[in-house]
């Protein structure tokens, strides 16, 4: 029996990186508790290769639950499936990603299985003596860190932000068991149905799963100047973010917005250009590993929380950074 579980995420049969990040978190907890780590993979026709990959990345067991009706995420069916396997195997801890599906599924599931759930944990540990899961999360716009536990209910459930932990390297010498769980009709809800997907080919990003985010704000003065930010983001292999001011002015789409009424990100590197660092914007970037600010105002709040700040004109500083990146990437000057 495995006591620590992670919920793997896949899209079109391909595992998302966050599945491996969760395993790195889970491995640490399972080792501390001296128990096994399992990953639950729900989908349709996800290949054996993906399951082997989960094992190489830290899982001892993989519960594979495959059915055409589970190909796309639908909260109610996924919750039914998990309710069934939780009742059968009784895990003690379940970790899921704080993604659009994880953040929907876990609170729905927590009610069905009477479990405690903590959102967006940045740190997870095991309490000495009791073996309880200690879950630390930022709250109130990142102004406080709260540590939470669920002493009397099992499973203990938590979501973890993408990019807030690093996956373990794939270890080909690891072995594990793949357990196929049969899908019965009563595990499918069938009320809500996925009709399709729309992807804005020109302007869509996933700022939450990016390692590097270069964000622009009102200091860019007009929408066209986002080109400069895009080019810089590209050369870092990153994506473009924005302040609400930039989004509200129509310079860039809402999926790029970072902050209180946008996305919360935990990238390795965040570069804010022409962004003042309002409390609402900071709420979305506080868990970034490195914060760099480029702002002409020496008193800008973003400089105060930055690991590295440049007080200067974005239209001089950004092209200069670009020149260095072009040189490094071997491109033209």
């Amino acid at each position: 029996m495995s006591f620590v579980w992670t919920i793997a995420e896949q899209h079109d049969g391909k595992l998302r990186d966050v599945s491996f990040e969760l395993l790195a978190r889970g491995r640490k907890l399972a080792d501390k508790l001296g128990t096994k780590l399992a990953s639950v993979l729900i989908g349709d026709k996800v290949g054996e290769q993906a399951m082997e990959e989960l094992i190489r990345r830290g899982a001892d067991e993989v519960y594979s639950i495959q059915d055409p009706r589970l190909a796309n995420f639908v909260c109610e069916s996924y919750a039914r499936v998990l309710t069934r396997v939780i009742k059968t195997y009784q895990p003690s801890i379940i970790l899921a990603a704080a993604t659009s599906s994880g953040r929907t599924l876990m609170p729905y599931l927590a009610i069905k299985v009477t479990a405690g759930l903590t959102a967006d944990c940045t740190e997870l540990d095991i309490e000495e003596g009791t073996g309880n899961l200690l879950q630390t999360r930022p709250a109130i716009g990142g102004n406080i860190m709260a540590t939470i536990k669920t002493p009397d209910h099992r499973p203990q459930m938590a979501t973890v932000r993408p990019k807030s932990s690093r996956p373990l390297p794939a270890d080909a010498s690891r072995s594990g068991k793949i357990i196929a769980v049969p899908v019965t009709d009563d595990m499918i809800d069938g009320r809500a149905t996925v009709v399709g997907y729309r992807k804005d080919a020109t302007d869509f990003v996933n700022v939450e799963e990016a390692d590097i985010v270069v964000a622009g704000g009102k200091g860019l003065k007009k929408g066209d100047n986002f080109t400069m930010i895009r080019t810089l983001a590209d050369s870092f292999g990153g994506v473009v973010g924005a302040s609400r001011e930039a989004v509200d002015r129509g310079w860039i789409g809402y999926p790029h917005q970072i902050g209180l009424s946008g996305k919360t990100i935990s990238p390795k590197l965040y570069i804010g250009v022409g962004i003042s660092g309002s409390i609402q914007h900071l709420a979305g970037i506080k868990t970034s590993e490195i914060i760099v600010s480029v702002n002409s105002d020496p008193d800008a709040s973003l400089h105060k929380v930055a690991d590295f700040g440049i007080v200067g004109d974005a239209f001089q500083v950004v092209p200069e950074i670009q020149r260095r990146m072009d040189r490094r990437n071997g491109g033209a000057k």
Binding site: F73, P107, A119, A146, A192, S261, I290, F308
Partner: protein, 265 residues
């Protein structure tokens, strides 16, 4: 169409203090507002009412002062409001809160749609919306950015997900949580304010609700806060000035070595 919008009264953005003993928010003396992300839910509900007819009911669980948030919702155009308030509800986590609110929804009676904000700006969990849906055993759609159609007792909508928009069809009744992209919230009107002032808002409590006592408040909450820390705000980073061309070059030099040392480039 009968729409219920659960809203939360929250401290004015981030100007918050915590009780280190209980790990709960100190509300005394802090200015409060309707959770800004709930305004999008209210706007969505009011627009649906304008298109399809029906009523919009605002619902809030909180201390008696939360009536102020409900009055604001009425001033925006909600038809009525319900306050869910009892000392026994104090200290509820998202599990107990969604239970209590689901019971309040059941007491209100029939409804077609529940529209909630994506999350509250203080607790920041985004768990209560889906939790209410789960207690009521109705389908849920989160991060809704656009409504396509409402007809034949079904709603078709777009959810903002990691790599685009997922288009979902859900039968009514269902619950959705919305993001800012869905609509710009309206301001309260003068007529609305007058109506709000005169409206008596009913209070649901342990006195008149059907509730499992073991599922309420701090005691009924599976999760317990054990510690609160205030992380340091400043990272003690370096700030360099780049006033002229030369300074720009040397500042960027320094930035690049910094990023190199951190293994980024």
């Amino acid at each position: 169409m009968k729409i219920i919008v659960p809203i939360k009264q929250v401290p004015e953005t981030s100007n918050v203090k915590m009780d280190p003993e209980t790990g709960t928010v100190i509300r005394a003396g802090v200015e409060t507002v309707v959770n800004p992300l709930d305004l999008y839910a209210l706007e969505t509900a009011l627009r649906l009412k304008e298109q399809h007819g029906g009523t919009v009911t605002a619902l809030s669980m909180g201390p008696p002062q939360a009536v102020k948030a409900l009055k604001e919702a009425v001033a925006m155009g909600c038809d009525d409001a319900v306050l869910v308030s009892d000392r026994k509800f104090g200290g509820s986590d998202t599990w107990a809160t969604s239970y209590t609110l689901a019971q309040a929804v059941k007491k209100i009676g029939d409804y077609d749609l529940i529209i909630a904000g994506e999350r509250a700006t203080d607790g920041d969990t985004a768990q209560v919306g889906p939790g209410i849906a789960s207690w009521l055993d109705i389908p849920v759609a989160t991060y809704v950015a656009r409504i396509e159609t409402v007809k034949d007792k079904h709603i078709v909508l777009e959810r903002l997900v990691e790599d685009g928009y997922q288009i979902l069809s859900l039968p009514l009744p269902c619950l959705m949580t919305v993001v800012k992209e869905i609509a710009a919230p309206r301001l309260p009107t003068l007529g609305g304010k007058i109506r709000a002032r005169e409206l008596t808002i009913p209070v649901f409590s342990t006195e008149n609700m059907e509730l499992e006592p073991a599922a309420l408040g701090l005691k009924g909450s599976p999760t317990k806060v054990v510690k609160i820390d205030t992380p340091k705000v400043t990272r003690g980073g370096k700030v360099v000035r780049a006033g002229d061309d030369e300074a720009v070059v040397s500042a960027v030099d320094e930035l690049m070595s910094f990023l190199e040392a951190k293994g980024i480039v």
